[in-house]
Amino acid sequence: MIPILYFLLRLACWLVVAPLLPGIINRVKSMVAGRRGPPVLQLYFDLARLWRKDVVMSNLASPAFVILPAVAWVAVSGAALLVPLGPAGTGLSFRGDVLPFIYLLALARFCTAWAAMETGSAFEGMGSVREVSYAVLAEAAMIAAVLSLCVQTGSMSLVTMLAPTVGASAVLLAAGLFIVLLAENCRVPFDDPNTHLELTMIHEAMVLDHSGPPLAVILHGASVKLLLFAVLLTQAVVPLGYFGPVVACTLLVASVLMVTVGVGLVESLLARFAFRRVPLLLTAAFLLCLFALLVAWKGGEA
């Protein structure tokens, strides 16, 4: 009984905390711009409002249009359950759980892209193409980062992989993973979440025709993904294992907060890149992670 309770508690922790992050990012952005800005809890209100609304379906769309966002949400939540929460451990852990982690994230993206194509709108197709083509490069960086952690610790499970500090390659890994975080969550140098122009949208174009509960599920899934990457980045770099449970928890929360504020600052201070310059930045992220892998490998040898 108790393990199930813990499992549900962890799941609730992920799902309840996640919508806070976009609120914090927006607050940082409005503070930098000198505005008052929306409340930090805005996304909760939005989700509640969307949940009460009806779904508008295109004539072309099959039932998959409604089902796939739910599948994507389940996939992202499943991936979140695999990631350890510092001293609290994970809900689910087994040998080689990094692979399902990466594949679940890919499945979520596939489902969102498929649901977007269901409407038969040209904008949605364009958005999916862009999202998937950036994801190819971002995933390469992600896999290099995970590989470097694997080589460093000689383990294939996220719990033991993320626990020890990374040492010299920590800086490389942090920079690479931060760029991956920005790309995967469609934040500013890659995509502007506030844009209103369909031609320049990426992620927003994909969810343009969703409404009601499916849109709420998509928005919530995106926030869970943001939290997931922030937690992953923190644990890959900050040596939480050396501290007591209370200090480690505080450190984890503080670091996630710092990453979120960092995203907000990047978003306020940087303009988004031209489309043709995005692959360059993602290649740079891939190379950063690759060199982190190299340092981990050579460091283990010497």
């Binding site: 692959p279 360059l280 290649t283 740079a284 190379l287 690759l290 060199f291 190299l294 050579k298």
Partner: protein, 213 residues
């Protein structure tokens, strides 16, 4: 062996990739000058007791590569009124990947070389090889004369890194001569860049292959 030295060489190798990835000439020149300063600091870290000759070499390198040469290049850039490399022969992403590949190849190759035991632990040899290869990629892949000069200077940085292996055996005169040659070379190139700009209305070196009356 010497963690600080390896850190500096790692930084220089990172700057190599930065120079391959940027399309702006001011950024390229800045990257190159920062790399020159880092290389200038290295002899002071390598020696345990500070020799006045070593300090002199370091100071001359920092002043030459960090200040004089970049300012000469910046002046040439300003008179030529260009600040971007728009159509490189090898694109930025491929050259970045090539640079990373050459860095990894240099690391792998350095293991195979018969080095002295005291040099085996440092990154000097792989760093030198990677920097030389970066210089070659810039020389081959860019079309503007100023980027090619930067490629040449990065190539020279790599040779300097290699020379650090022999720092005890190399006379001061050789170092000073190399530095002087380099400065004069860049000075002359600055004039040539101006001439190319006047004669062809562009700094594209591909146009120099056509003969004219």
């Amino acid at each position: 062996m010497n963690p600080n030295l390896n850190l500096l060489i790692g930084l220089a190798m990172g700057l190599n990739l930065l120079s391959l990835g940027t399309s702006r000439l001011p950024a390229l020149i800045r990257t190159m000058s920062v790399q020159g300063v880092i290389l200038g600091v290295m002899p002071m870290i390598m020696e345990h007791e500070l020799d006045w000759r070593v300090a002199l070499i370091a100071l001359a390198t920092i002043a030459g590569k960090g200040l004089v040469i970049p300012s000469l290049l910046r002046r040439a850039m300003r008179t030529a009124q260009i600040d971007r490399e728009l159509e490189p022969l090898i694109g930025f992403v491929p050259s970045l990947l090539l640079g990373a590949g050459s860095a990894i190849a240099a690391l792998a190759l350095a293991h195979l070389l018969p080095l002295l035991p005291e040099h085996a632990g440092t990154l000097l040899v792989p760093g030198a090889l990677a920097t030389v290869l970066t210089g070659f990629i810039l020389l081959i892949g860019r079309t503007k004369a100023i980027s090619q000069v930067c490629g040449y200077l990065i190539l020279e940085n790599g040779i300097y890194l290699f020379g650090l292996l022999l720092i005890k055996a190399m006379p001061l005169l050789v170092e000073a001569g190399v530095l002087l040659d380099l400065t004069v070379g860049v000075f002359i190139i600055g004039i040539i860049v101006d001439r190319i700009q006047r004669a062809f209305d562009s700094l594209d070196t591909r146009k120099l292959t056509a003969l004219r009356e």
